[in-house]
């Protein structure tokens, strides 16, 4: 239980998807012009990550890892299917995103309209595939740990995008040099937020 909580807190603050690993930057930069769309997209990412990471964990554990297929019979014990990870993970992610798209369209048509193309683009958001690949690399020990990691990463991404959206809304009234306006200043502010988040490295849980 302690371990799960540890992983959860670490993945929100210390291993933040945006500030430590730069995952999901493209939609982060494109959607963060207003807080409302950012909240919508952020919640969608939390949901997708929270589901795909545990499912991919199970897939990895019982089918893909070297030796994973031993439950099917002793002759499969040294089959290593890990090279199929990319394609299978993407397949799971694409189907989950399709599901989220249908749910959002049903329950909040205005959010669906305002997110536009960026909702299906969650499927190619590097944060989602990155979450599964990091889970595979870090070799978590249980579904609980994998879920904690997935939800935590999603919440970390959500914090980052809502934060930058709030700042960008305010900065429209500031005197930014023309060449820095828009994209340039967003990069620099994200860098500064990254330095701020580094202060969490000292947390000992």
């Amino acid at each position: 239980m302690q371990e799960i909580f540890n992983i959860f807190i670490k993945s929100i603050f210390v291993d933040n998807m945006v500030f430590a690993y730069f995952l999901g930057m493209c939609s982060y930069l494109a959607v963060s012009k207003t807080v409302n769309t950012s909240v919508g997209l952020g919640l969608a990412v939390v949901f997708v990550l929270g589901i795909t990471v545990p499912v991919d964990y199970l897939l990895n554990e019982y089918i893909l890892k070297p030796g994973a297929l031993s439950w099917a019979g002793a002759e499969f014990a040294d089959v290593d299917l890990s090279f199929l990870s990319f394609i299978l993970f993407i397949a799971i992610i694409a189907s989950m995103v399709q599901l989220v798209e249908m749910i959002v369209e049903k329950f909040s048509p205005s959010l669906y309209a305002s997110l536009g193309i960026f909702l299906p683009l969650i499927a190619v958001n590097c944060a989602i595939l990155g979450g599964s690949l990091f889970m595979q690399e870090r070799d978590y020990q249980s579904v609980g740990q994998a879920t904690a990691f997935g939800l935590g990463s999603g919440i970390g991404w959500f914090l980052a995008i809502v934060g930058i959206a709030a700042i960008r809304e305010k900065i429209r009234y500031s005197n930014v040099p023309p060449a820095l306006r828009g994209l340039g200043i967003t990069f620099i502010i994200t860098g500064l937020m990254g330095i701020a988040f580094m202060s969490f490295l000292g947390i000992k849980l």
């Binding site: 730069f22 299906p120 690949l133």
Partner: protein
């Protein structure tokens, strides 16, 4: 029937060459199209991984562009994203296996980011925007051009980060020992993620100052 034979565009016509040169500056995938940011920041702490990454992206992008362009008339509208993803994923798996076989230590440094080439927005972006509507040779050139633009920015970022962050270039000590003796220290912050973001911000600043038409209103 009176059908005229359409003039074939010469292989290296000015129009085709522009496909290679425009992404180097005015249509740069990272600083103008805002694609491929994630990997550009993550692998640029040193020059070697940055170059290996650029070459990998170039191979995947050029190959996928050509394949999708060849298939473009046969892909049904509804599943085109899935088909594009499958083409990209196959190329990436191939490149990943080659990297693991020939430059294992660098592939360890790149870790998940080779797999993440699949979700690298440059690939989906160029496949959608160009390969789906153009012939294979221009698609190939477009892939090479965009990969060169991407690689250029990666090398610039990695150059400064490695030089100021570790005092080395390509792992060769470049800053002379004499400077260290009088008190110069490596700027450790440059190796850390936040400085990559700020470096890109500065590059965008300089690029937009020199090309006024890129400035946003």
């Amino acid at each position: 029937m009176g059908a005229e034979k359409k003039e074939r565009e010469p292989m290296f016509s000015p129009k085709n060459l522009k496909l290679v040169t425009k992404p180097l500056n005015l249509n740069n995938p990272i600083t103008v199209q805002v694609l491929g940011i994630c990997s550009a920041l993550a692998v640029t702490a040193k020059l070697k991984p940055a170059i290996v990454m650029s070459i990998s992206v170039m191979v995947v992008l050029a190959a996928s562009n050509v394949v999708v362009s060849l298939l473009r008339n046969g892909i049904p509208q509804r599943i085109r994203i899935i088909v594009q993803l499958v083409v990209i994923a196959t190329m990436v798996i191939l490149v990943d296996q080659v990297l693991k076989a020939f430059v294992y230590d660098i592939s360890k440094q790149l870790s998940v980011f080779v797999g993440l080439i699949i979700t690298n927005c440059i690939l989906m972006g160029r496949l959608e925007a160009f390969a789906m509507g153009n012939k294979p040779w221009p698609a190939f050139l477009d892939g090479i051009g965009n990969a060169l633009g991407y690689g250029l920015i990666l090398i610039i970022i990695a150059f400064f980060r490695e030089l100021f962050g570790s005092g080395t270039l390509f792992d060769y000590q470049v800053i002379p020992q004499a400077l260290y003796d009088i008190g110069y220290k490596n700027n450790g912050l440059m190796i850390l993620p936040p400085m990559a973001l700020i470096t890109v911000g500065v590059i965008i600043w300089i690029q937009r100052n020199r090309n006024r038409e890129l400035i946003e209103k």
